[in-house]
């Protein structure tokens, strides 16, 4: 009966097949299946740390985080869910329907806990904590939220936080950013997001096939982001914002000796808290507002410098020895350049360089400009930090622009005429600067010849950056140049006919320069850029009022700020 041997072989073959398949599953694919098995039953519940705080120079909190509580549940089968949502609604005092809708809307996949209620208060969180003992599928998760104790104060410096957008995500994916991460937009929040950012910790829990919580497998505490200390002085910032409030424009206050920004304001401003509360109507309003409140006018907008630019002219002419202290021009209210009449805003009579600065005489500077030449004006403007970004830490800084004959030739195929030089001499034409740039330029005359690089970050975590950030570049003008221009700037205030004579009533001796920028539409922009106290400058101030009228208006605002500062003993 040899037919029977076949069965022996068959049985051995069958067992061999089983063995081979077993080896394939266990040994060859074992690791893969172990992972699959883990992903079946292990759920990760992320827990956020707090974003780093933002402090002022004295360590006072400008922005911190406040803990709110979210309620999450592990997805599981429906009858269980109804029961849990029922008791949740009793404890939270929310309709079951609402919870169900929230569950449906936030449900992502069966392996991810679903948020059913967010932002519940501490009392309810404690009540829920007791209920959790009998229903462990509920997760009460503390979630730190950005908290702005001063509302919109320094909003442009700080920026706001929001869910990451697609563009940032593609850029930052490699650094561990994920969809739905909260990241900074604008200001310090954006630029220093990497440091401010908290690290996610979390629980890993085991669930059964119905998604029911079984036990906690592990916990890694989340870690908070690093605190960032700014050079801003909260008191000055408050004064500045209170004064600016209601005027479209921007104010920069900096320390001319180091480049530290002490106050930086831009108006209209916004309250970053609306992004935390996700109040979509208000957010849409911010984006659609024609006055663009989200733009930091101090660094991202540029305006014609107008008469403030005359300082550049004066230094160029003095340096190139085209004029000296005794050079005079006669202002008859206008002057002919080529075939065109260029007028001054007043009849000033005989003007030397100091009085021309003090009275802001246009004719003097038309003439001086023609002596110096447009290319030289451009070069000196660059030496004083214009037409290039100041290398400031906040994002979206504009570089401003100073035209030159060469640029005109290359880019516009047009020649440069003396009239253009005259226009440039009084800071009109294509010339554009940001308030920060002008403040930085003024610092050169306040500190006796050093171009600072303005900065606003004093320390990140425990690391103090101020020593590294303080970069002073010698401009290299003659001492007499600084002296002469300094005198001119002082006379702007002290001279009875000086354009900023209103400031002479202050206790502090102020020096500075006003400007009235003509724009194609609407009222002129008003500038005042100056420093104080005159003999030992501690502050540079730059006030810009968009469509604010004549430079006088800006000097009035500056006067209010300086007055308030001296009243509070800050000077």
């Amino acid at each position: 009966m040899d037919r029977k041997n076949i069965f022996n072989v068959l049985i051995i073959l069958m067992f061999a097949a089983l063995l081979a398949s077993l080896a394939n599953l266990d040994l060859l694919q074992g690791v893969k299946f172990r992972k699959l098995s883990d992903s079946n039953c292990i759920r990760l519940i992320a827990q956020q740390g707090a974003r780093g705080n933002i402090l002022d120079r004295n360590g006072e909190v400008i922005v911190d985080s406040k803990i709110s509580y979210d309620v999450l549940i592990l997805p599981q089968d429906l009858s269980q869910l109804d029961r849990i949502l029922g008791s949740l609604s009793r404890i939270l005092g929310v309709e079951v329907k609402e919870l169900k809708t929230a569950f449906r809307n936030n449900y992502f996949s069966s392996s991810i806990p679903v948020t059913v209620a967010s932002n519940i208060d501490l009392k309810k969180a404690i009540l829920l904590g007791e209920y959790k003992l009998e229903e462990p599928s509920i997760i009460i998760q503390p979630r730190p939220l950005r908290h702005y104790p001063y509302g919109s104060l320094a909003a442009h410096v700080i920026g706001y936080v929001n869910e990451i957008d697609r563009w940032r995500l593609t850029k930052l994916e490699d650094y561990g950013y994920k969809t739905k991460d909260i990241v900074g937009f604008g200001g310090v929040e954006e630029k220093y997001d990497y440091y401010l950012r908290q690290e996610e910790g979390g629980l890993s829990v085991e669930v059964n096939h119905r998604g029911k919580f079984m036990r906690v497998l592990g916990f890694e505490p989340p870690s908070n982001g690093k605190d960032i200390q700014l050079t801003l002085d909260l008191k000055i910032q408050k004064i500045v914002e209170d004064t600016l409030s209601g005027h479209k424009g921007s104010i920069v206050l900096m320390d001319p000796q180091s480049g530290e920004i002490l106050a930086l304001a831009s108006y209209p401003n916004f309250n970053p808290a609306v992004f935390v509360g996700k109040r979509s109507k208000l957010i849409a309003g911010l984006f659609n507002n024609p006055d663009s409140p989200l733009i930091n006018r101090a660094i991202s907008s540029s305006y014609p410098p107008a008469s403030v630019f005359k300082i550049v002219l004066a230094s160029a002419a003095l340096e190139l020895k085209k004029i000296n202290l005794y050079t005079i021009f006669l202002c008859r209210g206008s002057t002919m350049i080529g075939a065109r009449k260029f007028s001054c805003w007043e009849v000033h009579g005989i003007q030397d360089v100091v009085s021309a600065i003090a009275h802001s005489c246009d004719v003097f500077f038309y003439r001086t400009g023609l002596l110096v030449g447009a290319q030289n004006i451009h070069d000196y403007a660059l030496r004083l930090g214009l037409s290039k970004p100041a290398g400031f830490e906040l994002p979206y800084e504009t570089s401003g622009f100073v035209p030159s004959p060469l640029w005109r030739k290359i880019n516009k195929f047009q020649s440069w005429f003396d009239g253009d030089t005259a226009n440039l001499s009084i800071g009109q034409g294509d010339c554009l600067v940001s308030p920060l740039q002008l403040a930085n330029m003024m610092a050169v005359f306040a500190n006796g010849g050093y171009l600072t690089s303005p900065y606003i970050i004093k320390a990140v975590g425990a690391l103090d950056f101020s020593a590294k950030k303080k970069k002073l570049v010698r401009v290299g003008f003659k001492k007499s140049t600084y002296e002469i221009i300094g005198r001119g700037l002082r006379e702007v205030v002290s001279d009875a006919k000086g354009t900023a004579n209103v400031l002479s009533t202050l206790e502090v001796e102020v020096a500075g320069k006003t400007g009235t920028a003509q724009v194609s539409h609407g009222a002129t922009h008003a500038w005042f850029v100056g420093f104080f106290p005159y003999d030992k400058p501690k502050y540079v101030i730059c006030v810009l009022l968009e469509n604010g009228g004549a430079g006088h208006a800006a000097s009035v605002v500056a006067g209010q700020i300086i007055g308030a500062m001296s009243k509070q003993g800050l000077i």
């Binding site: 069965f7 067992f15 097949a17 079946n40 039953c41």
Partner: protein, 366 residues
């Protein structure tokens, strides 16, 4: 001679113990009556052992005489199930008794084997040679096929495609072992295989689904493919040494359905790993081999065919169950003999093994 009794007893006891351990591990955390299920299984095992000992002492030749009676009783119960069986898991396989459910198809398989063994080992009165060598196509194939087809049809109607096809396989195998001409056997196989595409339309939806899912479990990962996927994960995640008894997340957290019945191998394999599974396969192989050895050394052709039939039944059940656990065979509702929870399966297996031992014990008589 008594060796085979002891050997099989020891092998069976080891496998049964592993089975109880696995049943315990997959049900001890559940609530209610589930918790005691391993105790019930132990009770069945004890009853089974008693049956085993009794059967090993009852001369198997009596089965020759009782053959028609056994076949008739089996058919009766199958009809009974057909008429008033209880429906569980979408199938009508069980009869409700006082405190347990009785699954006649488990015993029907054995009855059919006894019947076939008797049918093919009839001798001619003149020259004591086997009649089966002289069978024509009607007596050799068609008549016995009708006897197999009736219970098979009833079982498939339950529906229990696995057990039904199992009968067919054993029938073909036994045909092969007798002296029926190969020509006839191949004709039968051809006749059975050719209309398979036609039968497709007669399959239940879930059966079609299972076959499709067998080809690609991922077409329906949460429905019909779920069990196979979870079972493969359970087996694979065991790795070389397994995750240990009472650990292993697939069975402990109930991701694996039927973890104490049809898919008990996956439960076992997750906890005991590759090495444990090899040991289990070896134990089964040894029992089946013992069955073949008994069959080979038995002179009596009825005993021989019966021993082969029983061994083959056991081998096929073990193979198909483990293969479906690993996803290399379609999912059919077949228990793993001696391991899976279920009184009928345990009793039928013990009785079959008892008969096997008795064949070995009695063979010298003839």
């Amino acid at each position: 001679m008594r060796n085979s009794f002891l050997r099989i007893l020891i092998l069976v006891l080891i496998i049964s113990c592993l089975g109880v351990l696995s049943i315990y591990s997959s049900t001890y955390q559940k609530e209610g009556p589930w918790q005691d299920i391993h105790k019930r299984q132990m009770l069945w095992l004890i009853i089974g052992l008693v049956c085993f000992v009794i059967m090993s002492h009852i001369n198997y030749r009596r089965l020759w005489d009782a053959n028609y009676f056994i076949y008739g009783v089996a058919l009766f119960f199958l009809f009974l199930v057909f008429a008033l069986g209880i429906i569980r898991l979408g199938a009508q396989r069980w009869l409700r008794f006082a405190w347990f459910n009785f699954q006649p198809s488990e015993f029907a398989k054995l009855a059919v084997i006894i019947f076939l063994a008797r049918y093919f080992s009839r001798k001619s009165a003149d020259d004591i040679s086997l009649l089966s060598g002289k069978f024509g196509i009607f007596k050799g194939i068609i008549l016995p096929f009708i006897f197999v087809a009736v219970p098979m049809f009833l079982i498939i109607e339950q529906p229990d495609l696995g057990s039904g096809l199992m009968l067919l396989l054993v029938f073909v195998a036994l045909l092969y072992l007798t002296h029926v001409r190969l020509k006839y056997i191949f004709t039968l196989i051809l006749i059975l295989i050719l209309p398979v595409p036609f039968f497709w339309h007669f399959l239940r939806d879930y059966q079609k689904q299972r076959l499709l899912v067998f080809l690609n479990p991922n077409i329906d990962p949460l429905g019909a493919g779920y069990t196979v996927i979870q079972s493969r994960i359970a087996i694979g995640s065991g790795g070389l040494f397994g995750r240990g008894w009472l650990s292993g997340t697939q069975s402990q957290l109930y991701f694996l359905p039927e973890s104490h019945t049809d898919f008990i191998f996956a439960t076992f394999s997750e906890q005991w790993g590759f090495l444990g599974s090899i040991l289990l396969l070896l134990l089964y192989y040894l029992i089946i081999r013992q069955g073949f050895i008994i069959a080979q050394r038995t002179q009596d052709s009825f005993g021989k065919l019966l021993a082969y039939g029983i061994s083959l039944l056991l081998a096929l059940q073990v193979f198909i169950n483990i293969a479906m656990n690993m996803g290399i065979a379609p999912v059919v509702g077949l228990p793993l003999p001696l391991m899976s929870y279920g009184g009928s399966s345990v009793l039928a297996t013990f009785i079959a093994l008892g008969i096997l031992v008795n064949i070995d014990r009695t063979r010298s008589v003839f």
